[in-house]
Point group: C2
Chain length 478, copies 2
C-alpha cells in the first residue's frame, strides 16, 4: 500500500496504521457488510489522529472496494468477496462465518512449505542434539516423580524449576530473584502473546525494532497495536531518537531482542543497556527483553541482560531456555516485577491453566546435568562451522551482511536489482527457502533483505543450498 | 451489585453488563484516571442499549467512586485507589502499571488454597491412575521417536495423532472426519480461549448455560462478552426459550457442556441434540460443545455428541481426552468445519506455535494401548463408589441434588438459611474446600448452591471431609 501526496514519513505511517486498523476491524467481523462506518470526526477523535488521515483511509477503503459511499449518509462496509457463506435454506439473517484474514502468521506459512534446503527455520538441527543421551536421561524423570503423568502444574509453573532458575540467574548474571518473580510459559511465543493481551489495546502505540521477529509483529497486529519502529544497527539503537519517540508517543512497551537479535544477529552494546533502563523508567515504558538464544554465542558471552540493570520493575525478561537444549519441550521463563508477573499468571491460567508439568520436570532434569554444558560447547562449534560455510559461499556475491557474534541467522542485503519476492518464489520451486525481509519489517518495506538461517540443515546441504540460492539469484541481471 | 428500580429482569441484566463493561475498560487501562467518559448518547449507540441504561451505569460508577462529574462537561474517570504507582524521581507522565482486576480466574483462586479435604478440584485422584504402568510405557516413546526432544509439532498438531483420533471417532461415534478437521490444543481450557479470541468482540452477546464452567466465564469476560444465560435442567434446555433468545440477541455462539455437565452433572437428552443443530443452523449460531469427560459415565454411555448431528459446520467440538487418561499431558482435540479449524490453527500458531510434540506422542502411545480400556473400567467403578459414599453421607441433610449418571461432581442446593460464602470461609479454615455456585452463574447469583467434586480425594478422606462439611453447615440455624 502506497499513499500519494504524503506530508511526511510520520503522517504516512499514521495513515497506513489507520487503514490497517480499519481493515482489521472488518476482517475480525466487528465491522460487517453494509454496516455504516463511524463518522470521520468520531473516528479521528477515537484514534487520536487528524480527520484528514481518516478521510484518506476511507478513500483508500473505497478504492480497494472495501467500503462504498451512500449520498448524504456516509461510508458503508462492502460485502467481502472472500467471506465463506454457508448455504442453508433457513437463513434468518445474513451472517457468515467470520474470516480469518486478520489472523496471520506469515513466518509459519513460509516455514511449513517442505523443502530440501530449509533456511527459513531458526532452529537447531535435531541431529546436533544429544538425542540418545537425552532420551535415556529423561526416562529417569518418571521414576523420580511416579505420579507425574497425573499431576497438573500450577499456572505459574513448577516451583522446583522456578527455584532452580533463580539460582541459575544468581550464578550466571549475579541477579537475585524470588520464585514468585518467574512464570513458566510454553515457549517464548506464548510469553509474547500473554504480554500483548495484557498490555496492548487497539491502536495503542508500541515500540518495535526494525527489523524484528515477524511472528511477534503478527501477535501485536492481532491485538490491534500501532507500530512505532526503532531502527536497530550493529551499534544498537539511536538513543536520542528513541527518547524522542518515547516522549512523543508515550508507548506502553518496547519489544526488543537485544542479544543476537532476530533477524539481524546484532547485539546492543553493554554501554546502552543501562541507559535503556533509565529511559524506560523516565517514560514509564516497559522493556520487553526477549532473550531467546543468550547462550548461543560464538567467541565470547554477550553483555549481561538489560534486566540486570533494572531496579524498578520496568523490564520484563523472556528467557527461552529450551531452544537449544530440547526445543520439543517448549520451556520459557518470564521474569519481572511482582505486578507484571501477577497479571501474567492470571492470563496464563485463563489461557491454558499452566504449562504441562511433565515438560517442566524433563527440562529441569536435563538442564541440571553436567552433560548440558558439554552439549552447549559442541553446539557453539557446530554453529561456527556452519556460519563460516555460508560466509565462504557468499563471499564472491557482493551481497552485504555484518558477521554475527552468535545466533542462527545471517541478515543479507541483496543488490537492488534482485526482486526478493520473485526470488523466493523461484527458490521454493527449487526446494530452497528463506525469510524475506519484508515480513520482519513493521513498515513492510526492506524489500532487498533476506534472513538466512544456517542452524537447521547439515553442512553439506548448507553448501549445496546456498550455491543453488546464489545460482537462482544470478538469473536476475542488472 | 444490585440495581434499584429495575424495569424487568432483562433490563437489569443489560444494565449490569453495561456497568461491568465500563469497569473492565477502566481496569484494562483503556479508560484512564481523569479521562472524559464517552457521552451517554454515543456509548448507548455503541453498546446498542437504551440511553437510560448507560445513564444508570454512569450513576453507579459515580456512587462507587469510579467516576466523577464535572459541571456542564460530563463524567470523568476517578483515579483508582488500588493502582500501583511506581515511585521514581523522573516522572514525566502519571502512568501507572496497569492493574489486573479485569483478569480473574475465580476457580483457580479457590483451588489453589491448600486443604486436606479437596472437593474443589474436578480432577481424577492421581492414585487412581496406573502410574507405574504409565511411566514404564511412555518411556518407550523415546525409543520409537529418537529425535522427539528436538522436534517441534506443527501448529495444528501431530498428524499421526490427528489421524488416530479420526479413526477413533469413526469407531466410537460413526463419524467421518479428516485429519485437517482437527486441531490439538494444550487442554480444553486453551481451546475455549482460542475460540473466544476469534469469535468474541467486546459486548458481543453469547449464550452460556446457567450454571456453567466458571473458568469459561472468566475467559469470555476477558474478551468483554455479554452473557445471555440459558438454564440447564436434568431434562436439558427449554428449546422454545432458546430459540427466542437466538432470534432476539443473534448470539455468535452458545458455549455448552451437554454431557455430564459441569457443575450439575446433567446430560442433555438425545432427543434435543438434533434440534439444537437445527436451531444453530437456522440462527447461524455456533455451538461450542465442550465434551471433557464423555467416557466418565457410570452405568451406560451418554448419547452421541451433538457434533454427530451436524452437517453444515455449526458445531465446534472440544474433546478433552487426557483428563482421565493422563491429565498431566494436557491434550485436547478440537473438531469442526474447515473454516473454523483454519482460523483456530492460525490463532494457535500465534498463541504458542503448537502443543509440544512430546506430549502428543506420549498421549497417543498410551491411548492406543489395550491397558487404557481396562483403566477406564476400573476408573468408572472407583468413581461410582466415591459418589455413593458422598450421597450416603448427605442423605440425612435435607440438601437437594440430582444424582448424576457420570462425571466428577455433585451439584447441591443447600437450605436457604445457610450463607454459602460464610460456609466456604469457615470450611477453608477447617481444611475443606468446594466451589460456591455463585461463580458458576453468569448472573452471579445461585447463592444456595455448591459444587462438590468427589473425584480427587480417597474414600476415607471423602467420608471424613463430607462429615466435616455437614458439621460446619449445621452451625447455621434457621
Amino acid at each position: 500500500m502506497k499513499a500519494s501526496g504524503s506530508s511526511g514519513k510520520e503522517a504516512n505511517l499514521l495513515f497506513k496504521q489507520a487503514y490497517e486498523y480499519m481493515v482489521t476491524r472488518m476482517d475480525r467481523g466487528e465491522w460487517n457488510a453494509h454496516d455504516k462506518l463511524p463518522s470521520i470526526r468520531r473516528l479521528a477523535q477515537e484514534l487520536q489522529v487528524h480527520r484528514l488521515t481518516v478521510f484518506r483511509a476511507y478513500q483508500l477503503l473505497k478504492q480497494n472496494e472495501k467500503a462504498y459511499v451512500k449520498e448524504k449518509s456516509g461510508y458503508y462496509v462492502s460485502p467481502s468477496k472472500t467471506e465463506e457463506q454457508v448455504p442453508t435454506g433457513h437463513t434468518e439473517n445474513n451472517r457468515s462465518f467470520p474470516t480469518s484474514s486478520a489472523l496471520k502468521n506469515s513466518l509459519s506459512e513460509i516455514q511449513h512449505i517442505p523443502v530440501t534446503y530449509q533456511f527459513s527455520q531458526a532452529l537447531i538441527d535435531p541431529n546436533l542434539l544429544p538425542n540418545l543421551f537425552l532420551s535415556e536421561h529423561v526416562k529417569k524423570v518418571f521414576d523420580i516423580y511416579p505420579k507425574l503423568m497425573g499431576t497438573y502444574s500450577s499456572a505459574q509453573g513448577d516451583v522446583e524449576l522456578r527455584e532452580y532458575l533463580c539460582r541459575y540467574m544468581v550464578r550466571h548474571h549475579n541477579l537475585q530473584l524470588a520464585a514468585s518473580d518467574l512464570l513458566i510459559t510454553t515457549g517464548g511465543q506464548q510469553a509474547i502473546d500473554l504480554i500483548s493481551r495484557i498490555y496492548i489495546r487497539p491502536m495503542d502505540p508500541i515500540l518495535v525494532e526494525r527489523p524484528t521477529y515477524s511472528a511477534a509483529l503478527d501477535i501485536f497486529r492481532q491485538q490491534g497495536a500501532r507500530f512505532i519502529p526503532v531502527e536497530i544497527t550493529p551499534d544498537g539503537y539511536d538513543l536520542a531518537n528513541l527518547e524522542r519517540l518515547m516522549e512523543k508517543h508515550k508507548p506502553r512497551l518496547f519489544y526488543m531482542n537485544p542479544t543476537f537479535h532476530n533477524p539481524t544477529g546484532y547485539t546492543v552494546p553493554a554501554a546502552q543497556r543501562k541507559q535503556l533502563v533509565e529511559l524506560a523508567e523516565r517514560y514509564r515504558c516497559l522493556l520487553i527483553e526477549d532473550d531467546a538464544i543468550h547462550e548461543m554465542y560464538l567467541d565470547q558471552p554477550p553483555p549481561p541482560p538489560i534486566l540486570t540493570y533494572d531496579t524498578e520493575g520496568w523490564v520484563v525478561y523472556l528467557r527461552s531456555f529450551s531452544k537449544y537444549i530440547a526445543p520439543g519441550l517448549r520451556i520459557c521463563a518470564v521474569m519481572g516485577g511482582a505486578h507484571v508477573i501477577k497479571s501474567l499468571v492470571t492470563a496464563k491460567s485463563l489461557a491454558d491453566n499452566g504449562t504441562p508439568l511433565v515438560n517442566q520436570k524433563m527440562f529441569l532434569h536435563y538442564f541440571e546435568s553436567p552433560r548440558m554444558q558439554r552439549h552447549l560447547e559442541k553446539l557453539r562449534i557446530a554453529l561456527q562451522i556452519r556460519k563460516e560455510i555460508v560466509e565462504q559461499e557468499l563471499a564472491s556475491t557482493g551481497w552485504r551482511w555484518v558477521s554475527p557474534q552468535g545466533g542462527f541467522n545471517l541478515w543479507l542485503q541483496l543488490p537492488e536489482h534482485i526482486p526478493v519476492d520473485q526470488l523466493l518464489e523461484e527458490c521454493l520451486r527449487q526446494s530452497v527457502s528463506f525469510i524475506p525481509g519484508e515480513i520482519c519489517d513493521p513498515l513492510k518495506e526492506m524489500r532487498s533483505w533476506i534472513r538466512l538461517s544456517y542452524s537447521f540443515v547439515n553442512e553439506e546441504q548448507l553448501r549445496d543450498g546456498v550455491r543453488r540460492l546464489i545460482d537462482i539469484a544470478g538469473g536476475y541481471t542488472t
